[in-house]
């Protein structure tokens, strides 16, 4: 089982969600986040004083899938989130040791 973490632009969420549904995903978790990579923040002015906002609003999507689904999910997110401009985001894939469905007690892939 793999944990897929994707950081994307906020307005992409709907498109990414639709693409994931088409890829057969049944569940995911979304967090509002702020961050930066090579996309620098922007400069704002407050009552005459300039300051940098380095932390740009982002959405973090997390989902745990069976190993065989990883490529499909990564492709779905990449294609829907790509605008070609700096700030599109990143996807990370890590390994999950175990998963349990609380309601039934199932574990492993059956819990996904």
């Amino acid at each position: 089982m793999k944990l897929i973490t994707a950081i994307i632009k906020p307005h992409i969420l709907d498109a990414a969600r639709d693409a994931l549904s088409k890829a057969g995903i049944q569940g995911l978790t979304v967090t509002e986040a702020r961050g930066f990579g090579r996309q620098k923040g922007h400069t704002e002015v407050y009552r005459g004083a300039e300051y940098s906002v380095d932390f740009v609003p982002k959405i973090k999507i997390e989902l745990v899938v069976d190993d065989g689904q990883v490529d499909g999910v990564v492709a779905a997110i990449s294609e829907s989130a790509r605008t070609g401009e700096i700030g599109d985001g990143k996807i990370f894939v890590s390994t999950i040791e175990s998963a349990i469905r609380i309601r039934t007690g199932e574990s492993g892939v059956a819990a996904l």
Partner: protein
Amino acid sequence: MMKCNRRIPTTRLVASIFGLLILAQQVGYAQDDTVSTELFTVNNTWMLVATFLVFIMHLGFASLESGLTQAKNTVNILFKNTAIVAIGLLTYAFVGFNLMYPGDFSIGQFVGFAGVGLDPGPDGNTVAYAGGGYTYWTDFIFQAMFAATAATIVSGAVAERIKLGSFLVFTTLYVAIIYPIAGSWKWGGGWLDQMGFYDFAGSTLVHSVGGWGALAGVIILGPRLGKYVNGQVRAIAGHNMPLATIGVFLLWLGWFGFNGGSVLSADPELVSLVFVTTCLAAAAGIIGAMFTSWTVQKKPDLTMILNGALAGLVGITAGADVVSVNASMIIGLIAGIIVVFSVLAIDRNHLDDPVGAISVHLVCGIWGTLAVGIFSADHSFVTQLIGVVAYGLISLPAALIIFTVLKSTVGLRVSEEEERGGLDVAEHGMESYNGI
């Protein structure tokens, strides 16, 4: 302990007020030159209280619009609402007041202008000015607050995608020229007044004029990105329900002055009657919207009953002093029902109005105006209808023209990227809720 000479002893202050009230009761409420100084003072004082009650409606609009739109645009909403008050008051001082109350009309009974700037004249601040109801200055500042509220109705409908500069240009032209000229037709003694058309506090003159402007803006501007996708209406939820609720209650509070002050004196019977009809209409509007929303939408929607309260208030505004108390409840109830269906219908026609301004102010403004013809034996439905149409014929085309010209010259709408990122950062370089 040092004694401060300027402090009025409390007992003397209370005695003075008491004395004024007793005198006010004893003298008759005839509005003529023989009104006593004491009565003049009481009348004028009430009118000034009404003025600042109407003023607080701007905070109401600012709060309501902020609550019903997205957080990334809140600075922009607040900025627009603050600027509108300034534009309204200042343009009214320069030209608006004298366009609305020209005294003599130059072009038929359609347009007249009493000159640039304010001038009370020799009688302006005496009992002779308005039959002892208020002074020239009170007249100006009370009416100026109304002008600004007409402008602010548009800001909610065009929210989240209109360019700030273009919006301010529209507001200036609309409130400086269109609103007062149209208003002169009734309150300035123009042709509609002579025909017997009746609009007590502005269901047509303020609310529908604002509403037509809102409709024009929504049409020319287009919907927000992502609002209508594949023929479906998608919800773009407001970010702060408490703020929206605070806004509506502030507006209701303001309406005590909006309607109460439109009596144009402190006449005990009329002002107290108007308080009753106004509040019962608001209450009935909430109930009407509640039942409609609960039935049609399956679950009772807070934003709909908030709109319902305003719908009732707008609906009673045309006839708060001439319809019966029972009629006020019916008018409010029907307004509350209408507003829910109107919001849904307008959305289904892919006209994006984030706060329901068109439904509350235009649709219910028209309803309220026609209701005077229905529920008051002294007023004709046909005359009311003529008035409604006349105001539509001046307001909608004027607003459409201004918006279209702005669109083809400086542009009306922000870019897609700016809209996605939020106007706070794009237009103002700041955020409303500074985060991490």
